[in-house]
Symmetry: C2
Subunit: 224 residues, 2 copies
DNA sequence: TTCAAATGATAGTAATACTATTCTATAATA
DNA sequence: TATTATAGAATAGTATTACTATCATTTGAA
């Protein structure tokens, strides 16, 4: 089973809705691809225009600048991840099982139930790991936050926090543990790939040890 | 008591050793100040030259580019933190106490024992929190890592990992837990300040709740 | 004193990060 | 069908960034 999915994004993320035209969808599609290939620092709208087969000026009609495009795609990812979480925990009672689902989702070990033709989610996941933090690690955080640009991230975090509270209603740090889980999952994957001495996962391609570490971290913390 | 401190840095971090001249030390001093004020994205060598009262070209004689300068100052910070850790745990037997010291150091709750006249460590700490990850979140990680630019970070991580093993010799993820602790301490401080809904610390200026969270996280994880 | 190295002063280039204008195709509407 | 609004293409242009190069001047070590 596959569900067609269209995610409605905060209008402040763009000047013109990229989901409303073929060009817009191409900008997203090739944008994700190009950021992944050359990294966010070397990524420019001029290079993207060449990939898409359009002009720089046309891309600027969709996004104010490349940072907004990055925020758009990472935010899209968080929204999609929350959908996945809702879907996969829908019929579950046991909060332990739900937490396991969260960890599997964050380590990308779950079969995707939603299809979006122009977005390659596994490449997007790579971007979130390598570049995602740059969306909020800027001098514009406060302003962007006021424009609700990070709401999907916070919503996801809050949903995970609520699952933690289901598991242990006395737990004092549900949101911090949730944001720590999300960040740690991604950072440890990055370290495993690029700075493996900062982990204990060797250089196998297995994600199993990471899953083990995250489960240990979360359940030990919650089991008061 | 205060100890004069001079940290010898990896020569690949610079073109000319900034510690060897007044101009070099000024570049570091005002560089830290300026990155903190305007953020790494808006920071340029031209602006820095104006602050220092020198020319762009002179700064380029010390550092290849602004990213190298960022790596220099963050790496300096990791080295300094490891010195602090060695100093403050020197006479301790109990690994639990050592871990508490690690957490206090990461949350900047420890009196500094080393003096470096041209480096404001509390501003530098701010940079490490906001911009530090950008030093390794680039397409050059692998190459920079081969040049040993991240060795001080890894050394610190390894030292913390060894303390964890003292505390619990059976523990399976000492390095991952150490890197998670370092990253989490900084990220939660950032969230507390800019995206407080991702934490449970309210908006007080207290670091106490963060210390509590980190202690909980680490000791629960280590107490098998 | 001399001589090498560090710095200053100045200039210049290619790329980046945009903005503006004009034209054309096309899709909606009257 | 004619009208008109809009998206996008084509082109040009500007200020800033991220450098590199050259040459003159200062200064500190031998």
């Amino acid at each position: 089973m596959e569900l067609q999915l269209q995610i409605k994004m905060n209008a402040r993320l763009y000047l013109r809705d990229p989901d409303s035209s073929q060009l817009g969808r191409n900008i997203i599609k090739h944008g994700i691809k190009l950021i992944h290939e050359i990294g966010f620092e070397d990524f420019t709208f001029k290079k993207l225009a060449a990939e898409v087969g359009t002009t720089e000026a046309s891309i600027y009609r969709y996004f104010e600048n490349k940072h907004r495009l990055l925020t758009y795609v990472t935010t899209w990812f968080w929204t999609w991840l929350e959908y996945q979480l809702i879907f996969h925990t829908n019929n579950l009672r046991d909060p332990k099982e739900k937490i396991d689902i969260v960890i599997m989702l964050l380590t990308f070990e779950v079969q995707d139930k939603f299809t979006v033709e122009h977005i390659d989610k596994s490449i997007l996941h790579g971007i979130v790991i390598c570049e995602g933090d740059k969306a909020y690690l800027t001098k514009n955080v406060t302003e962007d936050n006021k424009s609700m640009l990070f709401k999907p991230y916070k919503d996801l975090c809050h949903r995970i926090a609520e699952i933690f509270l289901e598991y242990n209603p006395e737990f004092a740090f549900p949101h911090s543990l949730a944001s720590t889980l999300i960040e740690t999952a991604h950072r440890q994957m990055y370290f495993k790939e690029h700075l493996p001495r900062l982990t204990d996962f060797g250089n196998s391609t297995e994600v199993r040890p990471l899953v083990g570490f995250l489960q240990h971290l979360i359940f030990k913390s919650l089991d008061d």
